[in-house]
């Protein structure tokens, strides 16, 4: 990740959406792989949520056994090619590298990418389905969590069917994370690897609309809920109906699904929020040719949830940050188009329940920014309706699960990924979703073993 530097924006929009980091050369990879100490009981393994045997895969790069290396990665993490690109490695594996205290940490993410890129080029199927055990599992959602669960269940001999609402499988990796960090081809390959094992993916099929929750419960031995989160919610201010107000994820999705257009060229853009989605939306706007992009956040840099590398990247791309600024009203013209945004200055008050200082408005500090586009990036809503159709216990859309087994309040239903993120349960990361998918597969398998043992 640390290899991505922003700021090279071209007038040719297509170029801006090419993957920025081209990957290591063979020489770089060999030199870096040989720098790895091959620690015993290495801390990087523990720091990886999926527990990839990192020294082992790196040693295999050094020895020229690239197939073995890719297999070692994907064995632990079915989404290992995506993770090589989007994991906040400095907070995970690389952050734990013992060389942090001696020289500089091993570029684990980039080496992981080197090995998985090799596997992608080979097109060989790396994992086989287990002998069918006669049990059927339905997985709802083909994001990292669903795909990972599917691969592991398939290896254990389950007949797996994934139901996916969108036209293409892959979840936010396919639609949400910007192309210049994660091209869709990478996700397509990961999906293919899993399909080749005999997993059926029914796309364009929204559970709750095209097929009911009850039907799945009736027709399958187990159901895995891996639906992630929904749209960005409304800001709750005046003017959200104007033309030029976008949902950040929809905004990014358009760049990964349809040809790039000139509609943002020369426009002035504000993004509301300060998580990774806000950053991705802001850099996307700049790369679509916006003349100015500002991120507005009601707290300060210290409270923003975006990763450091994302923040650095946005600064390099030329995104402006306005801290302690909250929108109060979107201003439109007679044609129903956005022309400005009224904001108010904030200051940090007392700490709230989450320990973070609460922002409070400064009376009389309102001001208006001239704008053409407002992008909302204040988190994601929850698919509460579907969760309730399964009659699952939840807290405002965050599905409650047993911490060990990821089983929901319903006997046959398990949940993993962003759908259980929140209120102290995990992180909204591709890698945690992948790990939870593996855990669900293990727990489902265990549940059948327990039955047959009793």
């Amino acid at each position: 990740m640390s290899n991505i530097t922003g700021g090279q924006i071209s007038a040719n929009l297509a170029e801006n959406f090419q993957e920025i980091f081209k990957g290591m050369t063979k020489t770089e990879a060999i030199v870096e792989a040989n720098r790895c100490l091959y620690c015993y009981d290495a801390p990087c393994i523990t720091a990886c949520p999926t527990g990839i045997q990192i020294p082992k895969f790196i040693k295999k790069i050094a020895s020229g056994n690239l197939k073995g290396s890719a297999k070692a990665i994907l064995e632990s993490n079915p989404i290992g090619a995506s993770c090589a690109r989007v994991c906040p490695t400095e907070e995970l594996c690389e952050g734990a590298c013992v060389l942090n205290n001696v020289s500089k940490p091993i570029a684990i993410g980039n080496l992981q990418r080197y090995a998985t890129d090799w596997a992608m080029k080979q097109k060989e199927q790396l994992f086989e389905a287990g002998t069918q055990n006669g049990k059927k599992v339905a997985i709802i959602g083909s994001g990292p969590a669903g795909l990972s669960a599917a691969r592991e269940l398939s290896r254990l001999g389950y007949k797996v069917t994934i139901f996916e609402a969108e036209k293409e499988a892959g979840g936010l990796g396919r639609y949400g994370i910007v192309s210049f960090r994660l091209p869709k081809e990478v996700v397509e390959w990961e999906v293919q690897q899993i399909e080749q094992m005999g997993v059926e993916i029914k796309t364009n099929t929204r559970v709750g609309v095209d097929i009911s929750a009850q039907q799945l419960i009736d027709q399958y031995d187990r159901v895995v809920l891996a639906i992630g989160m929904g749209k960005v919610p409304n800001l709750g201010i005046e003017g959200e109906q104007f033309n030029g107000v976008y949902d950040a994820i929809e905004f990014i999705k358009s760049t990964k699904t349809s040809p790039l257009t000139e509609s943002v060229v020369g426009k002035k853009v504000a993004v509301i929020g300060a998580g990774n989605t806000a950053i991705d939306a802001a850099t996307t706007a700049l790369r679509l040719g916006a003349s100015n992009v500002q991120i507005l956040y009601r707290r300060t840099r210290n409270e923003m949830t975006a990763y450091q590398f994302e923040y650095d990247f946005a600064k390099q791309d030329g995104v402006e940050f306005r801290w302690l600024t909250a929108p109060t009203r979107i201003v439109g013209n007679a044609n129903g188009e956005v022309v400005g945004l009224e904001c108010i200055k904030m200051e940090l008050g007392e700490a709230g329940l989450d320990g973070r200082q609460k922002p409070v408005p400064v009376d009389g500090s309102e001001f208006i920014i001239d704008l053409d586009i407002v992008i909302k990036a204040i988190g994601q809503s929850r698919y509460t309706e579907l969760i309730e159709a399964f009659e699952l216990n939840h807290t405002r859309g965050v599905v409650e699960v047993d911490k060990e087994t990821l089983k929901t309040s319903q006997e046959k239903v398990y949940a993993c990924g962003d759908v259980i993120f929140g209120y102290g349960q995990g992180d909204a990361m591709v890698v945690s979703a992948a790990e939870q998918g593996k855990e669900v597969a293990k727990a489902i398998h265990q549940s059948f073993k327990l039955i047959s043992a009793s």
């Binding site: 020489t27 091959y38 020895s63 020229g64 073995g68």
Partner: protein, 426 residues
């Protein structure tokens, strides 16, 4: 998946990777851990009459920031009582009946001494014996190890004595501290060896401390020569294996040892005629788990090449290894620089200019951009530039077809000889 199992002179093991006789095979605890990690066999730390070891035993040579390019030791054979070793060998063999356990032996060059130890270790059940005629320090001063391993007659005689008593296959481990290793290898074969292994360590001094002027390592301020092994010795070992493999008088299997760190090194030894390999330093540097990639990497390599059994790899490069006099004098390669890939470090230019044949020119193109070009007519195809080049693919060594047919030095001499003889005859 390819079959990795080997059969070396009747000794079978699930894969070609054995631990060499050294600290990693000192005890039952260690060898059992090694087998759990995947090693196919182990040559037990050399057994013999009890010895005393010194403290401060190892030293390593680091090269430009890479640790353990070479490894040096002044350790002797096992310092544990024979009974304990035999008990642990027995227990280990019982737990791992399909793994190869070979007892390495070293005693005084006396017939009854050899008969006695052979009987004792075979009684507890080993898959084979390895005679340590190689240890270059300490034991040699007492007439054992390389002291007897450097004298072909002693190698032959002792091998013969062992064969008189042995029921299991006998491997003779040779010392590289000799001008021509095929002399002692042939002696071993004459003595009846079922296989030979090489190399043991090479006489060495790892270094001198510039502040204390002590040797590295030193024992209370004094040093003695040690034995060198690890990655640095691989080319020496590989040549010795190749020389023995292509020698028609040495028609027994070879166990290859010396600087093997990964599956690629191992595959090279197999191609050069070894039926299996033994490893010490790499395991000492990284632990037993390194064998996992050795097995995985070799297996993937064989699958990729469509080779069903690792035994099919053995010796495939031996016919390609011959004498200088058999090399084609009319074969020509030249260096070609790929300017798109070249990063203009100019290392090829200066290496050729100062130390080879002055044929890489530093030029400037029409846009004022510097570039390097080989004058192919002056290039002798020595490879130096491509060796010092830091970038893959920047310099290719390409064959230039010659109008003359193939002609070796030996053919050329024979032709000249014939011409002279004919002329005299006329």
């Amino acid at each position: 998946m390819a079959d990795l199992s080997i059969n070396l002179a009747g000794i079978k093991s699930p894969n070609p990777f054995w631990l060499a006789s050294a600290p990693p095979t000192n005890s039952g605890y260690q060898v059992q851990r090694a087998f759990e990690a995947g090693w196919g066999g182990a040559v037990w730390k050399t057994l013999g009459d009890p010895i005393l070891n010194v403290s401060s035993r190892f030293a390593a040579v680091n090269f430009n920031g890479q640790r353990v390019a070479g490894f040096n030791n002044i350790e002797l054979i096992t310092d544990r009582p024979l009974e304990i070793n035999l008990k642990e060998i027995y227990e280990t063999k019982k737990r791992f009946p399909n793994h190869a356990i070979i007892a390495s032996l070293m005693v005084e060059p006396k017939q009854e001494k050899w008969h006695e130890i052979v009987k004792r270790v075979e009684d507890i059940g080993v898959d084979g014996l390895e005679l340590n005629f190689g240890c270059p320090h300490g034991m040699a001063e007492r007439g054992m190890g390389s002291a007897s391993g450097q004298v072909p007659e002693l190698v032959e005689k002792q091998t013969y004595w062992v064969k008189e008593a042995a029921k299991t296959p006998v491997i003779v481990k040779l010392t590289p501290n000799i001008t021509d290793i095929t002399a002692t290898a042939e002696a071993a074969v004459r003595g009846g060896a079922d296989a030979i292994s090489m190399i043991n360590t090479i006489n060495s001094l790892a270094g001198v401390d510039l502040d204390t002027w002590n040797t590295i390592p030193h024992v209370a301020g004094k040093g003695a020569h040690g034995g060198y092994c690890g990655p640095a010795v691989k080319p020496i070992a590989l040549n010795m294996v190749g020389e023995c493999a292509r020698n028609p008088h040495i028609n027994v299997p070879i166990s290859g040892i010396g600087g093997i760190s990964n599956w690629k090194d191992a595959a090279e030894f197999l191609l050069m005629g070894a039926t299996g390999v033994q490893i010490c330093t790499a395991a000492m540097h990284h632990g037993f788990s390194i064998v996992e990639d050795m097995i995985d990497g070799l297996s993937n390599y064989l699958d990729e090449k469509g080779i069903a059994s690792v035994m099919d790899l053995v010796g495939k490069s031996v016919p390609k290894y011959s004498d200088w006099g058999d090399l084609d004098l009319n074969y020509k390669i030249v260096a070609r620089i790929n300017n798109d890939v070249c990063i203009n470090c100019n290392k090829c230019h200066i290496s050729c200019e100062d130390t080879s044949h002055q044929c890489i020119d530093m030029l400037v193109d029409d846009n004022g951009k510097p570039f390097l070009k080989v004058r192919e007519e002056d290039c002798v195809g020595c490879n130096l530039c491509s060796i010092v080049c830091p970038v893959d693919g920047a310099i290719d060594m390409v064959e230039v077809k010659q109008p003359l047919p193939s002609m070796t030095w030996n053919q050329r001499q024979a032709t000249i000889q014939k011409f002279l003889v004919d002329r005299v005859a006329k």
